[in-house]
């Protein structure tokens, strides 16, 4: 039995929703980061699926871009998280509302 593209796409959608939901619900900055990664990879999965379905290498190339950007983002993001943790010894996103209007 071959696994059809629909399964991959559904998995991508489920992963993306879990990530989005986690981002909205969780307060811990690290968890929120992981959720963002989850969403990015859900997108990657979708890209790859369509690349194979449509026989277009473009989708796979884009995945590499996403991976690179995600890596860079994690570096910067984790750096910020560490800096914040050093100042406040907390990683709760709700503590960081200094930009309140």
């Amino acid at each position: 039995m071959t696994v059809s593209a629909n399964w991959y796409l559904s998995l991508g959608a489920v992963l993306f929703s879990i990530g989005a939901l986690g981002l909205l619900i969780r307060r811990n900055v690290l968890i929120m980061f992981m959720c963002v990664e989850l969403m990015l990879n859900a997108a990657n999965l979708t890209f790859v699926t369509f690349a194979r379905e449509l026989n277009d290498i473009g989708g796979q190339v884009l995945v590499f871009f996403v991976l690179v950007v995600a890596a860079a983002e994690v570096v910067v993001g984790l750096g910020i998280v560490v800096a914040i943790y050093r100042r406040r010894s907390s990683t709760s996103a709700d503590d960081l509302h200094a930009m309140k209007g």
């Binding site: 909205l24 619900i25 200094a98 309140k100």
Partner: protein, 647 residues
């Protein structure tokens, strides 16, 4: 020498420039003498030009000189070009004006050197005076309406500067503004007349306009003449624009003599004489001029009967005499108007300078009720003043008799009612001038007592303490102009009586179109009118003297209405001043504060309020922002999906 005409204007103008550059350095009497010298040169030159003009053959005795092209707008499609040159025009009329303007200016410059001695702004006074003479000459010599208008505005500006010369006094400053604003109302009329003339004829040159009089159309001619009348009402202080001239007496006395008696205020008379072909073509306008003149002459004369300030009496008398000139012009008797203008320039200049001498001698006292018996102390001033008094009163054989007689003859020819107003005013004139002379030069030495008469009045500061020192005769710099003017004033009648070929009327006649009303009265009518004039003058002089030498206080003869000049100032204040002030206050309190500030502040408030409102969305919680993004994505998706389904 005719080609040197431009130099007549350039000399006082050069004097102005010299004063501007060096006035302060030249200092007290020198600056005045320098200014006098420039005007004197100008006078000598105009005599030379006059002699040259005499050689030009009579029927076209004129000379025009184009200096440069001023406005060179060439003709465009469907429109006449506006081509105006800065050019001068010399004919018997303007020549006469130039001669007496420069001559009298010279004398008054000289007088001012003594009168203004020790003033803080001595050089500045002569700076303005020179500029005034130059402007007046531009006005007189202008060959087209626009050049005349430049001079017209120039004299108005100088008049403003000189009335407000002692600007630290509140009353002088506001009198200057008053004169300027009244003149401005008139200037609008003059400007509209210029526009209308250009619209109908496509040119502004007087001679070209006069050739095209028939092309203008009767309605337009009347409109132009009435607009000009409004213009000259302002400048020559006619009803209803005359109250400024009384306030103009806040200026130094030489200014009152030169600008507000002899020259500037006669500019209106000159202008109407200059455009006589237009007036001739519009009898309605001419009749209006005559009526305005007669009414002004009468009303101003009544006011002059009840004033206490020696200069105010003379000011209203000037208004009244200007009214006579307008009456003459309205009757088509331009020669008579010019004749009276010249005679008036002499005797009114003389009277003003005489009053200046009195004021000077009494240490700045202007109240007639605080003078008296001055003939003992100031003999030269008294004799010269008396000549002026008899002239203006119309006592033969002095010039006023001839000049006023001329006007009244023509008024009789035009309409007996005008003549009646004229002769009645002549009687009033004789009366109030005799009152003035009687109060100032005869009677008791009232200047000695600190009279209770003035207890309530605010006096000039330095009189309030101590006794007034005895009056003294002025020095020769002031008396020489008085004597010269007195001689001219007494003899000016000869201008008319000199015989048919030498008389002024014969000299200026080519300038004027025929008179409107046929002046074909029988000789015995003329004699009768003249004798009547003389009787009226002598009677009223006697009455005035008898009444006012014996007593200085006759309240019944000085009714409150006349003391307040028919409440004209109050009426204008009520009709124009107060509503204007209310409008200004309304604009300030409501339009500015509510409408304009309201709009500006409203925008600010709106931005601030909406900012406060929108600020709440910035919670600072990342999850809120994320939710907003998710919601946005969902909405976009929903939109995209529904679109695909529907289409």
């Amino acid at each position: 020498m005719l080609h040197l005409t431009w130099l007549i204007i350039a000399l006082p103008l050069a004097g102005f420039v010299v004063q501007l550059a060096l006035g302060r350095r030249l200092g007290d009497p020198v600056a005045g003498w320098v200014a006098t010298a420039f005007v004197a040169l100008s006078f000598v030159l105009s005599v030379g030009v006059y002699l040259s003009l005499l050689k030009v053959v009579a029927p076209v005795r004129s000379f025009s000189q184009t200096l440069w092209t001023w406005i060179p707008v060439s003709a465009g499609p469907g429109a006449n070009g506006l081509h105006v040159t800065a050019s001068l025009y010399l004919d018997p009329l303007s020549m006469t004006m130039v001669l007496f303007v420069t001559g009298i200016s010279m004398l008054i410059h000289m007088y001012s050197v003594a009168y203004m001695k020790g003033d803080r702004d001595f050089p500045k006074f002569f700076l303005y005076l020179n500029l005034f003479v130059a402007s007046m000459l531009i006005l007189v010599l202008g060959s087209n309406m626009l050049v005349t208008f430049v001079g017209w505005e120039g004299v108005g500006t100088c008049s403003y500067f000189l009335i407000a010369f002692w600007f630290t006094r509140e009353s002088a400053a506001s009198a200057g503004k008053k004169a300027f604003i009244y003149n401005r109302i008139g200037d609008v009329g003059f400007l509209v007349a210029i526009f209308l003339t250009f619209e109908r004829t496509g040119t502004l040159e007087y001679q070209a306009v006069f050739q095209d009089v028939n092309k203008i159309g009767p309605g337009y001619i009347t409109a132009i003449c009435l607009c000009l009348l409004l213009g000259v009402m302002g400048k020559s202080a006619q009803i209803p624009l005359f109250p400024w001239l009384a306030d103009a007496m806040e200026g130094p006395t030489p200014v009152s003599a030169l600008i507000h008696a002899a020259t500037m205020v006669t500019a209106g008379v000159y202008l109407l004489c200059r455009v006589n072909p237009l007036l001739h073509a519009s009898p309605d306008a001419a009749f209006t001029v005559a009526c305005v003149g007669a009414a002004t002459a009468f009303i101003a004369a009544t006011i002059a009967c009840a004033q206490d300030d020696i200069k105010k009496v003379l000011a209203y008398s000037t208004v009244s005499q200007l009214g006579y000139m307008f009456l003459a012009i309205g009757c088509g008797a331009y020669e008579a108007a010019i004749f009276l203008m010249i005679a008036h320039a002499f005797f009114k200049g003389l009277l003003f300078l005489g009053s200046g001498s009195v004021i000077h001698g009494l240490h700045d006292e202007q109240d007639l009720k605080r003078m008296g018996n001055l003939r003992r102390y100031m003999p030269i001033t008294f004799i010269t003043f008396a000549v002026g008094w008899l002239c203006i009163a119309g006592v033969p054989p002095f010039s006023g008799f001839w000049a006023k007689g001329d006007v009244l003859d023509n008024a009789w020819a035009a309409h007996p009612a005008l003549w009646f107003v004229g002769i009645f005013t002549a009687g009033l004139t004789a009366y109030y001038m005799s009152r003035l002379t009687g109060l100032a030069f005869f009677g008791k030495d009232r200047w000695k007592d600190k009279s209770p008469l003035d207890a309530g009045r605010d006096m000039v500061e330095h009189h309030s303490e101590g006794s007034i020192p005895a009056p003294h005769e002025s020095n020769w710099i002031m008396t020489v102009p008085l004597v010269v003017l007195a001689v001219f004033a007494a003899l000016a009648g000869a201008l008319d009586a000199a015989g048919p070929h030498l008389s002024l009327a014969h000299w200026v006649d080519p300038v004027f179109t025929d008179t409107l009303y046929s002046d074909n009265e029988a000789v015995h009518t003329e004699w009768l009118l003249a004798i009547l004039d003389a009787i009226v003058a002598i009677t009223f002089v006697t009455i005035g003297l008898r009444l006012w030498i014996t007593r200085a206080d006759r309240p019944k003869l000085e009714s409150r209405v006349l003391r307040h000049s028919w409440y004209l100032n109050e009426i204008y204040d009520f009709l124009i001043g107060r509503p204007g002030a209310r409008l200004a206050q309304f604009s300030s309190a409501v339009v500015d504060a509510r409408v304009i500030d309201g709009a500006v502040n409203g925008v600010g408030t709106l931005v601030r309020r909406s900012g406060t409102l929108v600020r709440r969305s910035q919670t600072g919680y990342v999850r809120n922002y994320a939710l907003a993004i998710v919601a946005g994505v969902v909405l976009l998706l929903a939109f995209a999906l529904t679109r695909t389904w529907w289409s």
